[in-house]
Symmetry: C2
């Protein structure tokens, strides 16, 4: 199957009439570029993220997971801006034209895309090492995006969901696990759920926000540095999942602090706005937990049961 | 040098004050996503194209050329829509952190970006085989983009510049050539000039358009198929450059018909609009040549001095 057949078979899902599904997609896949209509009164929000075999997922990762994850990591970036995702492009690099693999990849990709109503509007397919780059476009009202730079002393530091699950799950790849807790963690790595609706609901509530991709401690330090502040953090209140505690008994806390791939949201909220946050979050499928407080100065100081806790710098570096 | 240092040293060119250069870039590199302001009354035009070592350029290609080409192929896609390029993202895959290489890559990239006033607003850097994916955003007035599907019988078929030069130049890589004609061809491959201003000027004039990336015959067939028409073409009027005739004496015509990487524009114009086209094109730095006529039916029939000319299908296929 050549490139054109791959695209028309697996990726071009326009109805036969030639009309794309979203009314704001004036022209989708098939020409030199897509033509998209941004509603008046919105800014455009754009993110690009790549995943590559060996670096971001091990060889043997199910194709549906690769399709899911290449879009999920980008949806997560849009969520971390409190923006609404709209359209995306896909640059796919394949070592061979394996129709079964591409079919599964597309299934995982579109299952997620359809759930959030985002449409594939273009891309490129080349022969090369397995990997995918997605560029996503979203929208937000001017001034309503939540940047990394808005945290101020006194704000609470919050995180959604259960950090650490994904890295624990990654260590259990590639075979399905017979233990239910282990399999739950594995699914958390394979199919991370971007917190899109949660992120959008935080516009006007969060003062600063990012998504946890490199690890909670490492990513939080980026937010604090961008805001010119520090934080006092309590590792004792980290929302460790039962599955993580069960499977990684001795290292659950380390997983939560330094493990990447969670794609949870980490954000700051003024103390006065905590009741509003708690009211919003009652509708969420994941818990939201206050794990610290922004302070003047710099750096991120973790404590556990009153004792200072040194967090090892285990962040993955490409170079 | 780690990823953050690479980005801040070579790619983050915001002034110290933190303000990006284009006033419509509300937030550039450094957060989870960029925030961009599309002026009212415009549609968004988005293209994605990848280039990879071994497939799109040979090992040893100068880094400045790789930087130039990854953006040029995307500018060319926007040009082929008759749209105005605005912003781009870059996903760069590097086998190692080679500062000298990245510096040269960035020089080639930004030399071209600055010339067309487009701004880098985000991206991703990963370790992997050498390659780059650019996603570019442009704008056009609603209904003013030129698609592949608008050609009608009677329209003339036109091409800018000198097709065939780039493939001839590619065959002369990687060392600089002492022969001036050979070096000129080599430069045409290394530093293709996207026809951005020419493409924009063709809004309202061209009935269909694409850019020549895979080869003139192959790309023209895509345009004809999208328009549901055929064409009678005259290979005898193809604008072969003196350099191409000199270096590829026996195969100049084949280079022009089947060689890719030209990034010239191929488009159709109603006969009644030819005077307008000729008037516009007097300002262009490249010639524009009528090379055929759209006819009812399907397919692309080339003739040379009255004889039918079979064009071999030499299009590169990834799979």
């Amino acid at each position: 199957m050549d490139e054109r057949a791959l695209i028309s078979t697996f990726f071009d899902r326009r109805p036969a009439a030639g009309r794309p599904a979203r009314p704001d997609v004036i022209l989708g896949i098939g020409d030199d570029a897509a033509v998209l209509r941004l509603d008046p009164g919105f800014d455009l929000v754009v993110a690009t993220d790549s995943i590559a075999e060996g670096t971001h997922f091990p060889a043997g990762t199910p194709a549906a997971s690769v399709g899911h994850r290449c879009l999920a990591v980008n949806l997560s970036d849009i969520a971390a801006m409190a923006a609404e995702p709209l359209w995306f492009s896909l640059a796919l690099s394949l070592p061979e034209s394996d129709e079964a693999w591409v079919g599964e990849f597309a299934r995982g990709l579109f299952e997620l895309a359809d759930r959030f109503g985002v449409e594939l509007v273009g891309g490129d397919t080349v022969r090369g090492p397995l990997g995918a780059t997605v560029t996503i476009q979203g929208r937000a009202r001017p001034g309503r995006t939540v940047l990394r730079s808005g945290a101020a002393p006194g704000d609470g530091v919050w995180v959604t969901g259960h950090p650490g699950d994904a890295v624990a799950g990654r260590l259990l790849l590639p075979e399905p696990a017979s233990d239910p807790a282990a399999e739950a963690l594995r699914q958390r790595f394979l199919y991370p759920e971007p917190r899109v609706r949660e992120g959008m609901a935080l516009a006007g509530v969060a003062t600063a926000m990012l998504d946890v991709s490199d690890g909670l401690d490492d990513d939080l330090r980026k937010l604090l540095a961008a805001s010119g502040v520090g934080a006092e953090m309590d590792a004792g209140v980290l929302p460790l999942s039962d599955e993580l505690r069960s499977i990684r008994a001795g290292t659950a806390l380390e997983c939560a602090l330094t493990g990447g791939d969670d794609y949870e949201l980490c954000f700051t909220v003024r103390s006065a706005d905590e009741p509003q946050l708690r009211a919003i979050a009652t509708a969420w499928p994941v818990p939201v937990t206050r794990i610290g407080t922004v302070v003047p100065g710099a750096g991120c100081r973790w404590r556990l049961r009153g004792q200072a806790l040194a967090v090892p710098d285990t962040t993955y570096r490409h170079f």
